[in-house]
Symmetry: C2
């Protein structure tokens, strides 16, 4: 499959306020003063659109992360931010993270349907189940639900949400001024979903979104997450340091999709990539070093603890990280297990000091940091793309605006020259640009739960 000449890379911009490197906000040119304004995010999205990227993407958790003392942990809500971006862009996809554990399906289905209508078919939903005690307490929840419960609810949530999005058939609206008939009630259906974790009764409050459903994105690498992804995910965000790990994951997901009765191309796999770019390799390394020197160890230690459940102190900074800390599965939540393995792999292979490990993680929290010239970055992207490790990348600029500008100004043109990346958008919707089918409507041609009776 990787040898197909028509196969094109997909590139997202994963937007954080000042960039993915934890010290990015301290960089002299950082936009830290503007990170709660629409314009800051609109500008980034417009640059991404000018470079023909597939989508912009926002992560999310409904809680404040405790690193706020040493970094801009506060953040705007993604769906509203993307609605504001939709208004000043025309073609780029708009992917928001939202939690199946802490939303009601009718509310969330409406938010995404509206984003899809408002953007003319550019919405994507990164589905998360939110393994976080801090989030749980914001919803009056007991210690947060275990993975089996969270994914059982997520499964029901997707069934309910897709019924809501399918509630109006594509030709339900008649809008005939002469007869006074606006819609055909035989083509509007009640969701009628009753599960163990949630239920939804009525018809949806808006017509079917332009894309049918928003593009369904997923990032969980746990066993539950992979099983869920095999059934539902159309794009997958993932974190790998080494091509062999990425290849194994890629093969596993594609075969999981086939087992679930889908085609391999129905799932687009996008590992994270945080590029430090210089006109020489040395310049790129200096840039990375400059940012690493701006890190605050207390921040990194708290991040390490949150990420992989390993707690170390400032006294340990210049000692090698003890291998035995990573011998077991650690005190990690299920959702963090794959990230734990990534970090354990770094410790095992590189035997870094604690400071060195914090620097390795400062760039992108366990995602791959790639340092080099534009050609070197493009070479690595091409290698992963053509050797069955990736369908594209979730680009995580280490700092804004320069770190992203270097990528779009110097790496994207090389990828375009090599015929790997588009120079014009293929279509108008995110599905069209990702090469994904518009889903069929499960109610088409049936009268299941139709309003015709209730209304007639």
């Amino acid at each position: 499959m990787s040898a197909r000449p028509d196969r094109q890379l997909h590139l997202n911009l994963f937007i954080t306020a000042t960039g993915h490197h934890e010290a990015s906000w301290r960089h002299p040119g950082s936009p830290v003063e503007n990170i709660y304004t629409a314009k800051h995010f609109q500008d980034l999205a417009q640059r991404a659109e000018a470079a023909k990227l597939d989508a912009v993407f926002f992560a999310d958790i409904p809680a404040l992360t405790p690193q706020v003392e040493h970094g801009p942990a506060g953040h705007l809500e993604p769906i509203t931010t993307l609605a504001s971006i939709a208004a000043v862009t025309e073609r780029i996809g708009l992917i928001a993270t939202a939690s199946t554990t802490y939303y009601e399906p009718y509310n969330l289905a409406r938010l995404f349907a509206s984003l899809d209508h408002l953007s003319g078919g550019r919405a994507g939903w990164n589905i998360v189940t939110t393994a976080s005690a801090a989030a749980a307490e914001n919803f009056g929840s007991e210690p947060f639900p275990d993975p089996a419960q969270r994914y059982a609810r997520a499964e029901e949530f997707l069934q309910a949400a897709t019924r809501l999005w399918d509630s109006w058939e594509d030709d339900a609206i008649i809008a005939d001024r002469a007869s006074g008939r606006y819609a055909d009630p035989a083509k509007i259906h009640r969701a009628d979903f009753a599960g163990s974790h949630l239920s939804v009764g009525g018809a949806f409050s808006a017509p079917r979104p332009p894309q049918g459903y928003p593009v369904l994105v997923q990032a969980g690498s746990s066993n539950e997450g992979r099983a869920f992804a095999a059934r539902w995910a159309e794009a997958i965000f993932t974190a790998h340091q080494r091509i062999e790990d990425a290849q194994a994951f890629y093969a596993d997901i594609k075969s999981g999709a086939i087992s679930a009765g889908r085609r391999p191309d129905d799932v687009v796999i996008l590992p994270g990539l945080s590029p430090f770019i210089g006109s020489t390799a040395a310049e790129a390394h200096d840039l990375e070093q400059e940012l690493n020197e701006l890190t605050v160890p207390a921040y990194g230690l708290r991040q390490l603890s949150a990420l992989v459940g390993v707690t170390l102190g400032e006294d340990d900074l210049d000692r090698p990280v003890p291998l035995e800390l990573f011998a077991g599965a650690g005190d990690v939540t299920d959702n963090n297990r794959s990230r734990f393995q990534v970090v354990a792999g770094i410790v095992e292979r590189e035997r870094p000091t604690l400071r060195g490990l914090l620097h390795r993680l400062a760039g992108a929290r366990g995602h791959r940091v790639l340092t080099g010239t534009p050609d070197q970055i493009a070479d690595s992207i091409e290698e992963w793309f053509t050797r069955g490790a990736a369908d594209g990348f979730n680009v995580m600029p280490p700092f804004h605006p320069g770190g992203f500008e270097a990528f779009v100004d110097h790496v994207v043109p090389i990828l375009q020259q090599r015929g790997l990346f588009r120079t014009e958008y293929e279509g108008r919707t995110l599905r069209e640009n990702l090469g994904l089918e518009r889903p069929a409507n499960q109610y088409a041609g049936t009268l299941a739960g139709s309003l015709a009776e209730a209304i007639a």
Copy 2:
């Protein structure tokens, strides 16, 4: 108070897809083909901003209303729609309806905080408790909660939401690149709210909104609604047919606010007004008649039943509406009681046929329809404004785009010439334009629930 020369009218545009008259979508120039596009709503908001209106406003219910066969009942979600409008406007306020019964406070507080940040302080929240069986079943709820329960939850919801919005003090962010300190954890507070209906634990995920809180708007006229409004509402939408009823309501709300320890000016009262405008009175009446003749009786009968619990059939269209149907309180939900009284008043005073009553309600569902020349409309606005019946109006154009254009092109200039309405915005935020104070932060100067300990 009404004689103060500095007192200015406030005018909102209450946006519905094709206008407030139920047959507006059938009018030849109606925008019915575009009512799920951002551009349609952005254009309306830009016209309203050009006329210096205070705000645009969207109603909402998380359900599909059953009139969909004969009218565009589907609708986009308001907060996302307003985020998209925020991107193409600069000064006009953005008021979305959302339900305390069917949202979680952390989620909804985030959506409104984001809208306020993205718009630079222009968000307003029309707080509803959603008395609707159709909505209840979309959330797996039993027969929907009674008013006492709904308002008890709403009270807790506002306490939780205001704690979340206050979570970050106004000077919590330091963002000192040199020291690496981003925020002062002593100035970020946990919400720590535990009620009987909901609870919220942690700190908020974003800084305090520019306005402190979005402007809090309310429309419930039930006893529970008025008591809630006296404590929380900063603007009130209401429906009155006659100036004496509006005056009584106005006096009651202002004295309720005083009893709750607030100033009368802390609550802005805005009755609904649906103007049919013609260059002569006859032309205006013809316009109204033209739209009334486009109504579908089946739609109006269903609307009447939904609105006031009175069910009549097409056979009764040309008979007088029986007075005894409105003798008791009717089979109405508490939230609809005031609307029931409005309709009962019309029946009692005017003794209409059923068709006549449907026409009276077709314009704005019980809100006041005013038919006349621009001067006549302006005279009535001035009378209500100067005689203690209103601080302004929630303008409900009967049809788009012409019905609203006539208002901004011909009525607004008269109000401006009379010195009743602004020719330039007073401020940048909705609070500034409505003359409302920015609320103090309940945590300022305290360490209550601060993150300093947890983080230190």
